[in-house]
């Protein structure tokens, strides 16, 4: 289920729309332990299905970085790009899922 959705409108684009981001879903999920990249990719794929009602197929890791005390930021995308860009940002703290965002681009 989604918690919040930032819509970037042409009439009030803010800074995101000029960068090609038309919407951001803050995806609420139950807390859980992620054992590795496979779990992270599954969370990402499930989030896209839930937010966009489309199956992106396999997700691939664009990058990840360690930030602060045990935070890890993962950036993922579908292995096959279709019309419109989908990106997923997942943050874990230790092994715990902390945040899931689905970004919709144009």
């Amino acid at each position: 289920m989604t918690k919040g959705f930032t819509l970037c409108r042409e009439s009030d684009p803010g800074p995101l729309l000029p960068r090609g981001i038309v919407g951001v879903f803050h995806h609420v999920q139950p807390a859980r332990v992620l054992e590795g990249l496979g779990d992270v990719k599954k969370v990402a794929r499930d989030a896209v299905i839930d937010c966009l009602a489309k199956d992106p197929g396999a997700m691939v890791l664009d990058s990840n970085e360690n930030i602060g005390t045990n935070y890890m930021l993962y950036r993922l995308r579908p292995s096959v790009e279709e019309n419109g860009k989908i990106r997923v940002r997942i943050v874990t703290r230790g092994k715990q899922l902390y945040q899931t965002l689905v970004l919709l681009g144009r």
Binding site: K3, T6, G14, P15, L16, P18, V24, H26, H27, V28, Q29, P30, A31, R32, E65, N66, I67, G68, T69, N70, Y71, L73, R89, V91, Q96, L97, Y98, Q99, T100, L101, L103
Partner: protein, 194 residues
């Protein structure tokens, strides 16, 4: 904050770096000092428009603090000189019933700051860094400084301060970074798990 208070000097998850890493996520604007204005609003309604000299005439304070970036690096003993945000609010007669301060920069960048953080005595509209006017890449002619918040809250090339009642995400907040961003509480990211 931290120095002399009995707390560790560095907030959790930070390390000292020798110097700033300069981020320009929206690019670097070219600002004409003669045309630069700080626009102050209350819920979107303009209340004042200040030039650089008018801002300086509110009186400058000096602050020596550490700077903390959400990516993990910190720079020690940075000296800022500028106008306390609280003084601006009081001099312009902005009522303190607002809940957030929404910030817009000349490069299109936005961020949002909680009322308590905006009115913190150390919150500042900085005009000088280490004794010299800001360099363009550091946000000349004016940027915000909140020593107890991560650096993304300290918008460079500041243009608009809108004191608002309803929360609104800024650029990094929309991309999942924390609404408040307090360094000692390690508020880096929004939490979307239940």
């Amino acid at each position: 904050m931290g120095e002399g208070s009995g707390r560790p000097k560095l907030p959790p998850g930070q390390y000292y770096a020798p110097d700033f890493t300069i981020y320009k996520v929206m690019g670097q604007p070219s600002v004409d000092e003669r045309l630069w204005r700080l626009v102050v609003k209350r819920n979107g309604v303009e209340r004042a428009r200040l030039g650089l000299e008018e801002l300086e005439n509110l009186g400058l304070e000096r602050l020596r603090v550490d700077f903390h970036c959400v990516t993990g690096w910190s720079v020690a003993n940075v000296v800022w000189e500028g106008v306390p945000v609280r003084r601006l609010v009081e001099k312009l007669g902005i009522d303190k019933g607002f809940n957030w301060m929404y910030v817009e920069s000349y490069d299109g960048y936005t961020t949002v700051v909680h009322r308590d953080d905006a009115l913190d005595p150390r919150a500042m509209i900085a005009l000088k860094l280490n004794g010299r006017p800001l360099e363009p890449e550091q946000g000349w002619p004016a940027r915000l400084v909140f020593p107890h918040l991560y650096g993304w809250k300290g918008a460079k090339w500041v243009h608009v301060l809108d004191f608002i009642d309803e929360y609104r995400d800024g650029y990094w907040e929309a991309l999942g970074y924390h609404e408040r961003g307090r360094v000692w509480e390690e508020e880096r990211f929004k939490r979307t798990v239940v």
